[in-house]
Symmetry: C2
Subunit: 163 residues, 2 copies
Amino acid sequence: MKMAIDEKALDFEISEKPFKRILVAVDEDDSDSSIRAFQFAVTMAKRNQAVLGIVSVLELQDLNVFETLSPEKINKLRQNLANDVNVYARQAQKHGVAEIVQLTAEGRPGAAIIGEVIPEFKPDILICGSKSKPVNSRQRIFIGSQASYMAQNAPCSVLVIRK
Amino acid sequence: MKMAIDEKALDFEISEKPFKRILVAVDEDDSDSSIRAFQFAVTMAKRNQAVLGIVSVLELQDLNVFETLSPEKINKLRQNLANDVNVYARQAQKHGVAEIVQLTAEGRPGAAIIGEVIPEFKPDILICGSKSKPVNSRQRIFIGSQASYMAQNAPCSVLVIRK
C-alpha cells in the first residue's frame, strides 16, 4: 500500500533558471525537428543566461568513409559540419545568447553525444529533435533510434522536441 | 554529401511561451525525480500561463488487484491516488498556476498515459521523472522503462527530468 504524499516535500521556491548548461544536438538530415529543438534551446539559454553547447555529428554508421572517401573529401565533410555548427552559433548569438560552445563529433550520433560530448560539455539538459514519423494504424509516433538512445542513456535531463 | 544549412531557415522570433498545455506525470514510488519533474512543470506552467495537467497512475502491472484485493481496498487505493494528485494540484495553485486539471489512470503508467491520458488532455509537452540508477562501470545511467516508453511513444514533446 502506498504512502500518502507529504505536502511539505512538494514545497519549493520557483526557480526561473533551472538549467545553466544546455546542449542542443542539431542534425542536417532532420532539419525540421532540429530547427525546433535549436529554437527552444536558444530561448531557454537566453532566459536562463545559460551556456549553450551546439553539437552536430558526422554520421559514420552506414558508411565507412575512412575507406571509401579520400582524405580530402573527409576533410571537406568535417569542414562542412563545423561550418554548419557555426551558422547555428551565429544565430544563437544574434538572439542574445552570450556564451556559446561549438562542438562536433563523429560516429553514431547517440553514442558520440553520450560517450564523448556530454562528458566533455557536462550539460544539465540535452535538447534534441525527434525524426518522428507515424507508424501504424493506432496513430502512434516513434522517435528515431538516436533520440530514443539519448533519452535512455544520458546522465542529464533530456528534452525530445516533437512537432 | 550533405547540403550546407540555410541560415534563413534558422531565423525565428523568440517565443517565451512555446508550450500552452503541459502534462506532468507524478509517481509516489519515485518521489525524488517526480518532485523535480513537478517543480519544473509548475515553473514552466506559471511562466507560460499554460494549462497544467497532473496525472498519477495506479500501477496494476505487477498485481492483479481486481482479483486479490477487495472492492473496498481498491476504492481506497483509487481515493488515495486522487488525494495525492489533489495535494500536487494545491501546491501548483499556491505557486500561481491558474488552470489545473487533475487526472488519474490505471494500468502500466506508460501505456495508460500514452493511450488514455494524452489523447484526452492533448498536451504540447509531457514532463516526467526518470527513476534513474547507475548501472555499470562506464557510469551510464538508465531511465526506467516507463519514462523510456513515454519518450519513445508520446505524440508530443517529452522532457525526462534526471537529477
